[in-house]
Every structure is written in structure tokens, then in C-alpha cells.
Symmetry: C2
Subunit: 156 residues, 2 copies
């Protein structure tokens, strides 16, 4: 209901509020004709969220390793290793990932990561990925359809 | 571990990923020497998140009403009514809220809302508030300290 008022008589109270604990996440969904490809794509999805990959030129290659007790753990640690490549020296943004060892019996991964150090002014700043989570993680394997999918929620 | 590679031989796979379900929230924390003031401040906090209130000139005044079964419900419905003022005709951004009825026995609120219709170009676009939530809601009443606080998480 609209009511009449006199704007010139309006006074304003002091500010007694603040904004706390902004939290956000995004779900990465990646797929491939093999679980290995879906993992590689999921890693790319993460880097693609951090910047626009068209601006990245691979100048360096690093090998990472991940090991876990099950396939979800393997995905978690794989992404966590990739995130660490970015978060500390060499601050690598990867444009291509190539998993060279993908052992689902021992749950071990070795991966070649091609990229270059993140540089403001060269790479558009996307959204910082703060952490990988196990929340609602899904690894969907449909060998009869040649379809493998992973879903991972990352904190941003 | 860094490894050597030949950049010119690198090829890139097609993109097989997407981003889903981006979710985010922010917690509003507001306070006052009365619960009524804390409620008013919490409403202002919400509008202050949507735009910069310095750019808002009150040209219209609307009265809203809210009713609930308890104090948390009252806060929820109060904010929900304010959000509705903004989300539909008159698309009002409020610069001042004045609660004229604040009944904690019947849990009823009447409030005068001073503002003007949101207009791109006039009002800086803040973040859209999509919904009020009951998640982790807190109403802290300390009459001996003249301190009343509310905490509300809103989806953005």
C-alpha cells in the first residue's frame, strides 16, 4: 500500500549492520569416453573456471601424482594436486592435462600438466577455487555406453 | 616435478565439461538497542546489498505488513515482504525503514518503506538477493545490555 510522506523531513539512522561469511560453490561436471578422460576434463574445468584458457600458452610441464583408497578419493586428490600446482610455486595454470598412469586397482594417477605461471594482465582473472570438496561427489561409469561422468563441487 | 616437452607438438582435446548449480549466500548481521531497530537495520542491510544506498532518493513510501508464529518467522516474513517490494511492482529500493507496529505477542509488524523504483544507470547494481532463508537464523536478545542482534542468511 502506497502512503504519502514528506521527503524533506526524512532522517536516516546510523548504519548498524554488516555482511558476514560469504560462501559459494560451483559444481564441475565433466565427461568422456573413459574415466581417465573424464578426470582430465574435470581438471581442465577447474582451471577454466580460474581464467579463460584461450589466454594460456603452455611453456612448462609438471608431473603430479595422486593416490587414494577409492575412486572418489582419487578424484579428490587429483584435483587437490592440480589446485596445489596453482596455489603455490609454480602457480601453474594448465591448458592441457594428460594422465599417463591411471590405475583403478591401486588408485594411483600420474599426470602431465602443461601450462604457464598465472600472471595478472596476461590471464583474465576468473574465480578463485578455494577447495575441492567431497560434497555430493559423483562418479558415474557406464561402460556399455562409453560414457563416464564426474561431478565435483568446489568452494569458490 | 617439472618435465621437458615440445610445445609445438601439443594438441588440445575438445571441451567436455560444464559448470552447474552455482550457489552462494551471504549472512546479514544487524543490531540495535531494540529488536525493532535490529529488524529495521536488517532490512536496510538487505537493500544495501542490492545497491549502494547513497544513490537512492526516497520518492515513494509503501506500507508492508508481516505476521508469523514466532520471532524467527516474523523476521523471515518481514524480509520476505521487503524483498517482494523490490521483486515486483513497484520494484522499490528502500533507503529507510520505519517499523510502526512491532507486536511480539501476536507477532505482527507494520512498516513504512521509503525509497524509489530501482533503475539501472541510476542505482549501481549490487547482488541480487534471491531468497531469505531460515538457515542458521539467530535472534539474540540481551535487554540488560540494550543489545539486540539478528543473523539471517540470504541466497544470492
Amino acid at each position: 500500500m502506497e502512503v504519502p510522506f514528506e521527503p524533506e523531513k526524512l532522517t536516516y539512522p546510523e548504519k548498524k549492520y554488516e555482511y558476514l561469511d560469504h560462501t559459494a560453490d560451483v559444481q564441475l561436471h565433466a565427461w568422456g569416453t573413459s574415466l581417465k578422460e573424464a578426470f582430465e576434463q574435470c581438471g581442465m574445468a577447474m582451471f577454466g573456471y580460474m581464467t579463460e584458457l584461450e589466454y594460456v600458452t603452455p611453456r612448462q610441464c609438471y608431473q603430479i601424482e595422486a593416490k587414494a583408497e577409492d575412486v572418489e578419493g582419487l578424484l579428490f586428490h587429483f584435483l587437490d594436486e592440480l589446485l596445489f600446482l596453482f596455489s603455490a610455486e609454480p602457480f601453474l595454470i594448465c591448458k592441457k592435462l594428460e594422465i599417463t598412469k591411471f590405475d583403478l586397482e591401486t588408485f594411483e594417477i600420474e599426470c602431465l600438466c602443461y601450462g604457464e605461471p598465472f600472471e595478472i594482465g596476461v590471464h583474465p582473472q576468473g574465480t578463485e577455487v578455494k577447495a575441492i570438496t567431497y560434497s555430493a561427489m559423483q562418479v558415474v561409469q557406464e561402460p556399455d555406453k562409453n560414457m563416464y561422468q564426474v561431478f565435483v563441487i568446489v568452494d569458490i
